[in-house]
């Protein structure tokens, strides 16, 4: 009973000093808004990234040159990773199901008088199985295309739209750079990830891409591999290292000049970055909440002094210490929760706005329930911690002095 009554009193006190209350809670508002905005965006990223990389499966392995080894000057010659390396891996490492080289560059493509600049990827026929990215219409690049250096292309949905290839793009002739190519397939919709449009792609046979990009492009390819099963991934990884170290003639005391990364390692490294961002923001939020708490303590001390007479009257008519302690504590917590509530809405708004501003189709800002609980939990905690001193002060006032207070 007294509890509800105290809540009503607290709300009335806050309403009576609207401006002051809002200003007081700004620290809390900022803190909670920042938490919610960051969480809602990070959650979105994490969701996207995980979905994307889980899509390729746990048996996925990626091999690329270690550019840092070049920077460190560990090797005299530029580090190389070629499709020849890839073929050696395919032939010598057991447990590999599929492998494809990937080289990519943005290139002007043309259909009739329409121009567009998607990313062109030179790949082998295994690409769609390795990356779990399949053709929707027509067919993918085949091994025959590769051996015969056929001038064919497989396009993404976005390219179909931009070049107005229509409902049936198969058989149409487009220009990829200066190379004429026949469209043989359209890839399935892959959406966007981290601002990169996964539909704005053109796939051409690897050798054709070498002609287009120049021979240098073949010196630093990315090799993408599917192991036969998840259990073999570590063995495959070791096999790749063995083959590449031998082929690259790396002495035993020198580190690799390439990097072999498993799917879970990619996920972990991305999640680590996202976790780092969260940690930094949490620190900022901690400071904001501290400042907010001090603001609340300050205003509660003012409130206790202003209402000394009221405290005296309440004591005279029978309020006990704990009644007054509770009254002012509830007021502090209510103030803090109001800040938390406003912060929650502001944070959600900020998250939604940022998602709209950042290019690429991020998932809609999503505030998980635990973040809401966390925001309110922290607000309550701040209210209690910083409200206990003023409330204690109110409860300990001598009723005679309080009634006499001018």
């Amino acid at each position: 009973m007294v509890f509800l009554e105290n809540f009503r009193i607290a709300l009335e006190a806050i309403r009576a000093n609207k401006m002051r209350s809002i200003l007081t809670t700004i620290g809390i508002i900022i803190g909670v808004a920042a938490v919610i905005a960051v969480v809602s965006i990070i959650q979105g990223f994490q969701y996207m990234v995980n979905r994307e990389f889980q899509g390729v499966g746990a048996a996925f392995v990626s091999v690329s040159v270690d550019r840092q080894s070049q920077l460190r000057g560990l090797t005299a010659r530029p580090v190389r990773l070629t499709w020849e390396d890839g073929k050696a891996i395919r032939d010598q490492v057991p447990g590999i199901r599929q492998i494809t080289p990937v080289i990519a560059q943005p290139v002007q493509v043309k259909y009739r008088d329409l121009n567009h600049r998607p990313v062109v990827l030179g790949v082998a026929s295994d690409y769609q199985d390795v990356t779990n990215h399949a053709v929707e219409h027509g067919r993918f690049i085949s091994s025959v295309d590769l051996t015969h250096r056929r001038k064919v292309a497989v396009v993404g949905k976005r390219v179909v739209e931009e070049l107005k290839l229509g409902d049936d793009p198969i058989g149409k002739k487009i220009y990829v750079g200066n190379i004429p190519a026949i469209v043989v397939g359209v890839m399935e919709d892959k959406g966007q990830i981290l601002g990169e449009d996964r539909n704005d792609l053109v796939f051409i046979p690897f050798d054709l891409a070498l002609n287009l990009f120049g021979r240098g492009a073949g010196e630093q390819v990315n090799l993408q591999i599917q192991a036969q099963n998840t259990g073999l991934v570590d063995e495959v990884k070791d096999g790749i290292r063995r083959v590449l170290r031998q082929r690259h003639r790396i002495p035993a005391d020198q580190p690799d000049d390439f990097r072999v990364i498993k799917q879970d390692e990619i996920l972990n490294s991305i999640n680590k970055v996202l976790g780092g961002v969260t940690a930094v923001v949490s620190g900022v939020v901690g400071v904001a909440l501290l400042v907010g708490g001090i603001g609340i303590m300050n205003i509660m001390l003012v409130s206790v002094t202003e209402r000394t007479r009221e405290i005296g009257v309440r004591k005279a008519v029978g309020a006990r210490r704990k009644d007054l302690l509770l009254q002012f504590l509830i007021e502090a917590v209510t103030l803090s929760l109001v800040g938390g509530g406003i912060g929650l809405i502001a944070g959600y708004g900020m998250g939604a706005l940022l998602v709209r501003t950042i290019p690429g189709d991020l998932p809609p800002a999503h505030v998980p329930l635990w973040a809401v609980a966390l925001a309110f939990g922290f607000s309550t905690l701040v209210g209690v911690i910083f409200g206990i001193y003023p409330a204690g002060k109110a409860s300990r006032l001598d009723p005679i002095d309080a009634l006499r207070y001018e």
Binding site: V2, E5, E12, V313, R314, A316, V317, G318, A319, R321
Partner: protein, 233 residues
């Protein structure tokens, strides 16, 4: 035992270097239904006595029984309980809660008594009707005249059926016409069986009481019935 039984009450304030003896051996008994004025100039100890009678403070020595309870032995929490149940305060400056309507002001003691919301409303309403403010229940203090505010305060003092109504200069902030109205109300409440104690320095006000206790220098100077008691009404 009398409703109020004070024996050899001393109250000493420790003001740093010197000790101030505000009450110096006061003994006083007040029966249920009495109408007492406690008089004295400033510094006589009447405020101290009022604080003790109202259980806002405890004596340094001596004993105080209120309605059978030994008040000097109570702790803070128990004193709050006694104030809630046994005492109805009326102050010179009304001391109503601002921005809170008359009904809520009157409900206040019942909140701390743990009375349910519905019953609280009903009793507060009856108390306001009793003091003639049935039509002003939802007015806030700043929308009421001085006399009306003091009526609200009296309703608040009455609402939990206390053993004593303890009024400290209840007309000190009112003009003479309104003062008369308020004193008539006290007379009426006494007539209805309430025990009323007025603390005042105004002889005019004190004449409303049936018994007058004069204090000087922390002692009872005189304690006698007033002319009113002889008339009997």
């Amino acid at each position: 035992m009398a409703l109020i039984d004070l024996r050899d009450i001393e109250k000493i304030y420790d003001m740093g270097a010197e000790k101030v003896r505000a009450l110096n051996g006061v003994s006083l008994a007040i029966e249920r239904g009495e109408y007492v004025a406690i008089m004295g100039s400033s510094g006589s100890g009447k405020s101290t006595l009022m604080n003790l009678l109202g259980c806002l403070d405890t004596p340094s020595s001596g004993s105080y029984h209120l309605n059978g309870t030994a008040v000097e032995e109570l702790n803070d929490q128990e004193l709050a309980g006694i104030r809630n149940k046994e005492i109805g305060f009326v102050f010179q400056t009304f001391n109503l809660l601002a921005r809170t309507d008359a009904l809520h002001n009157v409900e206040l003691p019942l909140i701390y008594a743990g009375v349910s919301r519905g019953e609280r409303r009903e009793r507060a309403r009856r108390a306001l009707e009793r003091v003639g403010l049935g039509a002003r229940m939802h007015h806030q203090p700043n929308e009421l005249s001085g006399g009306q505010r003091q009526r609200v305060a009296i309703a608040r003092a009455l609402v939990n059926d206390p053993s004593i109504l303890l009024a400290d200069e209840p007309t000190g902030n009112l003009d003479s016409a309104t003062s008369t109205e308020i004193m008539d109300l006290f007379d009426e409440l006494h007539g209805a069986g309430n025990t009323v104690i007025l603390v005042t320095h105004e002889p005019d006000i004190a004449t409303h009481a049936w018994r007058q206790v004069n204090l000087r220098d922390g002692r009872v100077l005189s304690d006698q019935p007033t002319a009113r008691a002889a008339v009997g009404a």
